[in-house]
C-alpha cells in the first residue's frame, strides 16, 4: 500500500462486494428456484429465498428425471459427464506428454513437420469444422459411444506445448546422468520426467477436467441415444421440452447439479487451477 486513504479502501471493498454479488446472482436465483414447486412460479415472480422442497426436487431429478422430456435421470447423465470428462482429461495428458517427449528428446527426420501438424490443431476449433468431423465420426460408427464422445476432442496442441515447455527447462545433466547409468529413453521418461512433471500434470488435469465436463455442442450432436446424454447437453433438451409446461424448478435443480462438480474442483484446487490456467496460455 502506497498511502493510507480510508475512503478508497472502503470504495474498493464496496466494488468487490458488488462484484461478488453480481457474479453470484444467477446461481443464487437458480438455487432458490430449485427449492420451490412449479406452482410457486405461476403467481408471477419467483421468490428470493429458498423454499422447503430442496431434497424432494433434487432426489427426484437424480433418480427419475423428467420423463416427458426424454432425458434420463440426472444421476445417469452425471455419470456420463464424468466418464467423458475423465477420458478427455486423461487421454489428452497421455498423448500430449508422449508426443512432447518425442519432440524434445529425439532428433528424427520430419520432426518439424510433426510439430506443425500438432500446432495447426490450435487453429481448428471443433465449432468450425463441425459438419465434416461429425461425418467422420458417423462413418467410423462412433455415434452414441463413449469413444465418440471423447476421442475427437483429445488431440490438443496446448497440452503438448505445455509439456514441451516443461521439458525444455529440465537440465540436460539429467539425461546425461541417466544415459551414463545405462537407462534407456522409456526408463528415463518413467523414472525421471514423469515424477518431475507431477505438479504440471495435476494443474493441467484441473483445467482439462473442466473443459471436458463443460463440452456442449459435441455431445449434443453425437448422442441420440438418451443413455449417453451428458448433463450439460441434457439441460438444453430438458429446457426445450418443458417449454410448454414450465418446470423451471426441475431445470434449475439440474443446472445446479451440472455446475457443482467443476465449481468444486476450482474452489478446492484453486492453486492448481490458477497454475494450470496461466501455464496453458503461455
Amino acid at each position: 500500500m502506497i498511502e493510507n486513504r480510508p475512503f478508497l479502501n472502503i470504495l474498493a471493498h464496496l466494488v468487490l462486494i458488488f462484484g461478488v454479488a453480481l457474479v453470484a446472482l444467477p446461481v443464487w436465483v437458480a438455487f432458490v428456484a430449485s427449492t420451490h414447486t412449479a406452482t410457486d412460479f405461476s403467481s408471477g415472480t419467483i421468490p428470493m429465498w429458498p423454499g422447503p422442497h430442496l431434497v424432494e426436487n433434487y432426489s427426484r431429478m437424480l433418480d427419475a428425471g423428467v420423463s416427458t422430456s426424454g432425458t434420463p435421470p440426472v444421476g445417469q447423465m452425471m455419470v456420463n459427464s464424468l466418464i467423458m470428462a475423465l477420458a478427455i482429461a486423461i487421454g489428452k495428458i497421455i498423448i500430449s506428454i508422449l508426443s512432447a517427449f518425442a519432440i524434445v528428446y529425439f532428433r528424427f527426420p520430419l520432426r518439424n513437420l510433426a510439430f506443425w501438424c500438432i500446432f495447426v490443431t490450435l487453429m481448428l476449433p471443433v465449432e468450425v469444422r463441425i459438419v465434416p468431423t461429425f461425418k467422420v465420426v458417423a462413418d467410423l460408427g462412433l455415434l452414441n459411444s463413449y469413444a465418440g464422445l471423447s476421442i475427437p476432442l483429445i488431440a490438443s496442441a496446448t497440452a503438448t506445448f505445455l509439456f514441451r515447455q516443461v521439458f525444455l527447462t529440465m537440465p540436460d545433466e539429467l539425461v546425461e546422468a541417466a544415459r551414463i547409468d545405462g537407462a534407456g529413453p522409456m526408463k528415463f521418461f518413467r523414472d525421471i520426467l514423469l515424477p518431475l512433471s507431477r505438479t504440471n500434470i495435476a494443474a493441467l488435469f484441473v483445467i482439462l477436467f473442466i473443459y471436458g465436463w463443460n463440452q456442449y455442442l459435441w455431445p449434443l450432436l453425437v448422442t441420440t441415444d438418451s443413455g449417453y446424454y451428458t448433463i450439460v447437453a441434457g439441460i438444453k433438451r430438458m429446457a426445450d421440452a418443458v417449454d410448454g409446461l414450465p418446470q423451471w424448478h426441475l431445470v434449475m435443480a439440474t443446472a445446479v447439479m451440472a455446475m457443482l462438480p467443476p465449481v468444486l474442483v476450482v474452489v478446492l484446487m484453486q492453486k492448481l487451477f490458477v497454475k494450470g490456467l496461466v501455464e496453458t496460455e503461455k
Binding site: R5, V20, I95, F108, E127, R129, V175, L217, E281
Partner: protein, 292 residues
Amino acid sequence: MKRTIFRNQLLPWLLLAPQLAITFIFFLWPAAQAVWQSFLREDAFGINSTFVWFENYRRLWGSAEYLNSMKVTLIFAVSVTVLSMGVALLMAVAVDRMLRSTRIYTTLLVWPYAVAPAVAGILWWFIFNPTVGIMPYVLGQMGIRWNHISNPDQAMTLVVIASAWKQISYNFLFFVAGLQAIPASLREAAAIDGAGPIKRFFTITFPLLSPTTFFLLVVNIVYSMFETFAVIDSTTEGGPAQATNIMVYKVYFDGFIGQNMGSSGAQSVILMLIVIALTVIQFRYVEKKVEY
C-alpha cells in the same frame, strides 16, 4: 534445444503416433473436407454435386443474411470483450489495494470459470424470462418492457451479459497477475511526486498493464467468436429475426439444420482463416511487440 538426446529412430514415431493419428482423423481430414465442400454445389436431392469454384463464397458475399451475421458477430464480440474486461479490470484494481482479503475475494470471483457456457446461458435465460424472471419484473417497475423473445436488441443484450459473465473470472485472474507484476517502486515514486490515485492509474498502472490487456483482448475475441456457441444455442438460437445469429452458429445451422453443405463449408473456411489470423497475432504480436 536439448544438447543431449536419445538416438532411437523408431521410438519417437511410436510416441507421436496416437496424437498424430487423432490429429489426422479428426482435425486435418475434416478441415480438408470443409475446404473441398466449399467448392462444391449439391443438387436439391443431395445426390450429385458439381465443382463450382468460388460460387459459394460469391453467394455468401451477396447474401444479406451472411453480411448481417458478420455485423452481429462484430457487435457481439466487441460488447462481450469490453464488458467482461472492463468489469474484470475494476475488480482487479480493487483487489490490488487489499492486503489480507485478496484470497477470499479471488476465490469468490473466479468460480464462474467452471460454469459451462450452456449452463450460464440457461441461468441468464431464466433470470430474464419474461413471465417468471426477476429482471423483467425489476425493469417493469422502472417502466421498461422486457421481452427478449421478440425484441432483437434485448436478445443481444441477454447473450452479451451471459457470455461476459462467464469470462469475468478469467480476465480478473490475468489482470491481478499483471498488476502484481508492476513494481511498487514506480507507483511510490509517482505518489511522492504528488500524483493522486487516479492520475497514477492512468499514467503508470494502465500503460504498464498493456501487455496483459492486449493478450486478453485477443483471447476474449476468440472466446466470444467461437466458444459462445453454447450460450447462443441454449438461449436465443440465433433469433429473433437473425439478431443473435453469430457466424459460428450459422455454420452449424446451415450445415446441420439447413443441410446446405457447400455454403456451410465456405463459412467454415472463412472462420478458419479468422482463427488463423488471430492465432498468428497472439503468437507473434503479443509475445514480442507490446513491451515497455
